[in-house]
Symmetry: C2
Subunit: 327 residues, 2 copies
């Protein structure tokens, strides 16, 4: 394992210190328990709080700021944060409009956020993000995973909260965006968790994992690496089927890097995906390309498509000012 770290056990904390210092104009760090919050929380609006294991940066800490999250709680690498983090974050940024927790659908996250919610004494709601369509069946008891679609939920609901939508409306919007968003990932290499020191999974020189999770979870199949256009041809149909996209619909196309794939390849995937969506009669009305929901240094990418409507497009376009996303 070769990484730019000091003590492996200090990695998350030292990253948080660096992040907060580099973006001191936008965010502030609470060290104990650990969370990142907006520098100047707006207590008049619904507070959006997310969190999850570290190693997916910029998710979630990079999306704290005007128009997106109010606070983010980083756990250890690939490990859920603990309820005290969510509760302290809720106390720091929540006001009378209440708190919406944005939770990716992983057992540890669900459990810890639920424990936090059980202890909340002020108004709250939550949304479970589960955009991963790599699993066809309901046989997986944990259900569909949360992938890069989380960024879309955080951006659009962040804009809704910023314009003054109430807690129930934000919750409805979050569920709506989640139900209209689907993703699937593909990995070419494994990552290595600093405290583990060895690759999370083995993968052959010529192999790819289709449907991989953002912690290196197995996908739907292991296959020989194909040309980019052929990979996209395999990934898009289950996505489009899931969101019920049909000719004439406007979509957001989001090509997300898992951390170790050059931007050049992400743009190449974007081109293939945009071409294929266009041939299916869909209109790519909005785009995002880059490393936004990563899996440490995994070489890989995921495709996310959100079925837009006029309101979702307007909320996507609304101003955002965070360390990782701004327009």
């Amino acid at each position: 394992m070769k990484k730019f770290i000091n003590l492996p056990s200090d990695t998350v904390y030292e990253c948080a210190l660096g992040f907060a210092a580099a973006h001191a104009g936008l965010v502030a760090l609470n060290e104990e328990p650990l969370f990142i919050r907006r520098r100047e929380p707006s207590r008049a609006k619904v507070a959006l709080i997310s969190g999850g294991g570290s190693g997916h940066e910029p998710l979630h800490i990079g999306f704290v700021g005007t128009g997106m999250l109010d606070a983010a709680c980083p756990g250890q690498v690939f490990t859920s944060p603990t309820p005290d983090q969510m509760l302290a974050a809720a106390k720091a940024v929540g006001g009378e409009a209440g708190v919406l927790f944005i939770v990716k659908n992983y057992a540890g996250d669900v459990l810890n956020f639920q424990m936090a919610m059980d202890m909340m004494t002020t108004e709250f709601a939550s949304v479970l993000v589960n955009d991963d369509v790599s699993m066809d069946s309901a046989a997986h008891t944990a259900g569909r995973r949360g992938l890069a679609g989380t960024v879309v939920v955080e951006k659009i609901v962040g804009a809704a909260a910023e314009r003054g939508d109430g807690l129930a409306a934000c919750k409805r919007m979050a569920d709506r965006v989640n139900s209209r968003t689907a993703s699937i990932g593909v990995a070419l290499t494994s990552c290595t968790v600093p405290e583990a020191g060895v690759p999370t999974f083995e993968i052959g020189h010529g192999e790819m994992e289709i449907g991989v999770g953002i912690h290196g979870e197995p996908g739907r199949r292991r296959a020989a690496v194909q040309p980019a256009a052929a990979i996209v041809e395999e990934l898009l149909p289950p996505i489009l089927k899931d969101i019920g996209a049909k000719a004439g619909d406007e979509v957001l196309l989001f090509v997300n890097g898992l951390g170790g794939t050059p931007l050049m390849e992400l743009y190449l995937l974007y081109r293939d995906a945009a071409d294929q969506l266009s041939k299916a009669g869909l209109q790519v009305a909005r785009s995002l390309v880059g490393n936004y929901t990563t899996s440490l240094e995994t070489a890989g990418a995921s495709l996310t498509v959100t079925l837009l409507d006029a309101e979702l497009a307007a909320l996507w376009d609304a101003p955002v000012l965070t360390p990782a996303l701004r327009w």
Copy 2:
């Protein structure tokens, strides 16, 4: 080699198509010869044109837009663009205020930009960016390389051009920023050029290359991987010596990823570097952390420090609206 590509020889072109489509609101693509330009060039100002081998994205194409470049000419991977690209870009975006070419100091780039300049029939000037301080001596005939400091030059001079500085003033500003900026890189792994198909260099499991170039060129020494803080302790002194930074000075600290290193590690490096600068009495007044000048999927990073003054800080802060940098 596992990459998201189709025909290796089409990679740069397909990336450019995807890039231009994903950022159609900001940029436009000229296919033959290949360059990216602002969607709506402002011919009243000095036009800034850069370019270089591909594989360093978002450099340079990601910095085309208001407040930075007017056009960028991508060559094949790690290969200089050709003079016809620079000349066509100059014709497309240049006006009476003239063209400033921003050239990284590599033999191929210098040669091809010089050939283009020899054929220019309108006003122009050029700046050679050579921020790499990994080589102590003047023994290397090609001189110091251009690294991530190029981003700083493009941002600050872009702001100067945008406010209406003339060609001579932009050229002076570019030389000034370059002389006040120093960088050094470190790689943990090699990248693989798509058309080559094999790693650019060999490096052992526990080794790092200190002073690596952005094409995998050898650095000042090969060493066993150290903790992040120790690596930063080796990188910073030659940088600070080069720019003559002393206690009380304000600096920009830029931690740049080479493509395959997680953001978590870049923020950790930032924290160590900011700490050490602070202990040296310097004030980290501006910060940038992320993958801005990459070397395909190389795991590695570079540190860049720019010695600021009030004018440089104000130009750094000036609004910028490009695919890869915006505030």
